[in-house]
């Protein structure tokens, strides 16, 4: 594939360059090369990102049940319907509860692991690998283990076996929504998968803290442990912490895999925003209008978070420095 592209494009490029050797030729050579390098990507970006987004904004204003080329314009009815007449608002609540659980716990656990691993002098790479390894596991595989082995509601489930040793009766973690044991299942799963990943971010940040700061603090009489952590480590990690929290929020917002596989779309509880979109657009109703309206609302909501994230993580910072 690459050979044909080289041949196809190299020729006109060199022809142009030899035509007008001086400045002008060089510049057009650069322009041509710019499009040669970025062209394939940009074409794909337009077709597979911009067209779908535009299309779905268009669909969201039409009665688009069972069709993607609707003709009946209905204004904001799809938005009204999905915001009042569906489970979509409920799913935003589910997300909020989920985020309230998963963001602080992942933040604390990954920071805790990073602090521990950072102090190790032996087998440090080993322990780092162990905590990082779950990142390679898919949410589906983890959901399977969580649902069918660890939190299986029957006797042979690992947790029920362990609790059984202490005389606790079997708990059906996933059978019904009250008490909401399912949050334990969902949250612990995501915690297991993503803690190691954020630990790596914290480890990198910890290693960037200048050792002099700790030495200076020691001279000033700060005690190792809580005091240095509170007044040096934590403030020095602020940028990373903020980034981690925002990444966690965006990830929680898009939660789908483990909810779909553990809770399922037929349950009336714990349905995430993406699950509601999935049901609206690809379920029995095939209502692409309502599904698109929901997608637009979600995108707008997440834009706010991403923009904030961009600010903090410095997306596009290259401009000024360039």
């Amino acid at each position: 594939m690459s050979t044909t592209t080289t041949r196809g494009v190299a020729k006109p490029a060199s022809a142009k360059a030899s035509q007008a050797r001086p400045r002008r030729g060089l510049r057009s050579n650069a322009t041509l090369n710019f499009w040669l390098f970025t062209g394939p990507f940009l074409v794909g970006l337009v077709i597979f990102v911009f067209v779908p987004i535009g299309w779905s904004i268009w669909l969201s204003f039409f009665d688009a049940r069972y069709t993607v080329t609707p003709s009946h314009f209905i204004g904001f009815d799809n938005y009204k319907q999905i915001l009042t007449n569906s489970n979509f608002p409920q799913s935003l609540l589910t997300f909020t509860v989920f985020a309230a659980f998963i963001v602080p716990t992942t933040w604390a656990l990954s920071l805790g692991l990073a602090l521990l691993v950072n102090q190790l002098r032996f087998m440090r790479a080993f322990f780092r690998s162990v905590f990082f390894l779950p990142t390679a596991v898919s949410y589906v595989a983890a959901a399977l283990i969580w649902k069918m082995s660890i939190f299986s509601g029957v006797r042979f489930g690992l947790l029920n076996t362990v609790l059984g040793w202490f005389g606790v009766d079997n708990i059906a973690y996933l059978a019904n929504p009250s008490p909401p044991w399912y949050w334990v299942v969902i949250v612990s799963l995501r915690l297991w998968i993503q803690a190691g990943f954020y630990m790596i971010l914290f480890l990198a940040a910890l290693q960037n803290i200048p050792a002099e700061l700790y030495e200076a603090a020691e001279i000033d009489g700060a005690k190792r442990g809580w005091q240095t952590f509170r007044y040096i480590t934590l403030p020095q990690l602020r940028a990373t912490s903020t980034a981690v929290v925002l990444l966690l929020l965006v990830a929680a917002y898009q939660a789908f895999d483990e909810f779909f596989n553990i809770i399922g779309t037929k349950a009336t509880w714990a349905q995430t925003p993406l699950m509601e979109l999935y049901k609206a657009a690809l379920g029995n109703s095939q209502d692409y209008g309502a599904g698109s309206a929901g997608a637009v609302i979600l995108s707008l909501l997440i834009c706010v978070v991403t923009l904030a994230q961009g600010r903090i993580m410095g997306f596009g910072r290259g401009e000024e420095s360039k």
């Binding site: 521990l116 002098r121 895999d257 979109l277 999935y278």
Partner: protein, 288 residues
């Protein structure tokens, strides 16, 4: 452990206390054990018989039923080999395609002087505002209109044009030493030649990091393959696993063996490429 600790700790006396070290390693050790439990469960159940898995008495070690492996691949109702193949094709082609398309674009944006280069870059940046998962409804609308449902094309191509990966490559190439390229220029190489002969061979670490991340996310992807793969013949491993969970006909030991087999390639990729992966994440702060 405690014998070498004081040697290393000479510079910082206070750190080397044996008691503190024991506590530290105890804490890390317990945490590590907890993190490894799910892996143990997969392997134990994958190599057990069904009665062993569901038995009342918990057995620590399975009876090592290696025959479960061949049983899994021989079972025609499950079609797991097919799913494994699909996942391999999708993850490999996605990795190759993403690296090719996004690295070229990233290089063009970073290094080729063009007056509207910044405007083009903003167009790319704009796509970062909308996460791909949220756009699966419109993407499905497009892909189904193209007739790409149940095809490799439909599974792979829409995922290649990652604004974020392009952005990462651009940032990386901005920091690539100019002198190397200028030397290539003096030797008469154009942008294209310099890119392939000088820039790429000197950036293999970064390419490996992005490749690992892309491969893992391609292999583990669930939502998009679920939407696109309507016929079982186009299912990836993740969709097959998911169907086992709701489908009551598949036996426990086969489900867990399938899970083990689906995770194994990634664990290997992960262990061998971890260095690049860690480097990549530390540099970029992302997962695919």
């Amino acid at each position: 452990m405690s014998t070498t600790a004081p040697q290393l700790g000479k510079k910082r006396k206070k750190r080397g206390s044996v008691l503190g070290n024991t506590g530290l390693y105890l804490a890390v050790g317990i945490a590590a054990l907890l993190f490894l439990i799910p892996f143990y469960l997969i392997l134990r159940n994958a190599l057990s018989t069904d009665p062993e898995i569901t038995g009342e008495n918990w057995k620590l070690l399975p009876s090592f039923q290696w025959g479960n492996i061949s049983e899994l691949f021989d079972d025609q109702t499950v079609q797991f080999g097919r799913a494994l193949w699909n996942s391999t094709v999708v993850a490999v082609l996605m990795t190759v395609g993403t690296l090719l398309v996004c690295s070229l674009a990233g290089y063009g944006l970073a290094r080729i002087p063009y007056k509207h280069s910044n405007k083009v870059f903003y167009v790319v940046l704009a796509t970062l505002m909308v996460p791909t998962a949220v756009t699966f409804v419109p993407s499905f609308v497009l892909v189904s209109s193209l007739g790409w449902v149940d095809t490799y094309r439909g599974l792979i191509i829409p995922g290649l044009f990652s604004g974020f990966t392009c952005f990462l490559f651009r940032q990386y190439f901005l920091g690539f030493p100019k002198e190397l390229e200028e030397a290539a220029r003096v030797d008469g190489l154009g942008y294209w030649g310099a890119y392939w002969r000088i820039v790429v061979p000197n950036s293999l670490n970064f390419f490996a990091a992005i490749a690992t991340i892309t491969f893992i996310s391609g292999w583990n992807a669930f939502l998009w393959p679920l939407v696109i793969g309507q016929d079982p013949s186009s299912w990836t491993v993740q969709i097959a696993l998911s169907s086992f969970m709701t489908n009551q006909t598949v036996n426990f030991h086969l489900i867990f063996m399938a899970t083990a087999v689906s995770i194994l390639p990634l664990v290997f990729v992960f262990l061998f490429l971890q260095r690049w992966l860690v480097q990549g994440i530390a540099q970029t702060g992302i997962k695919g």
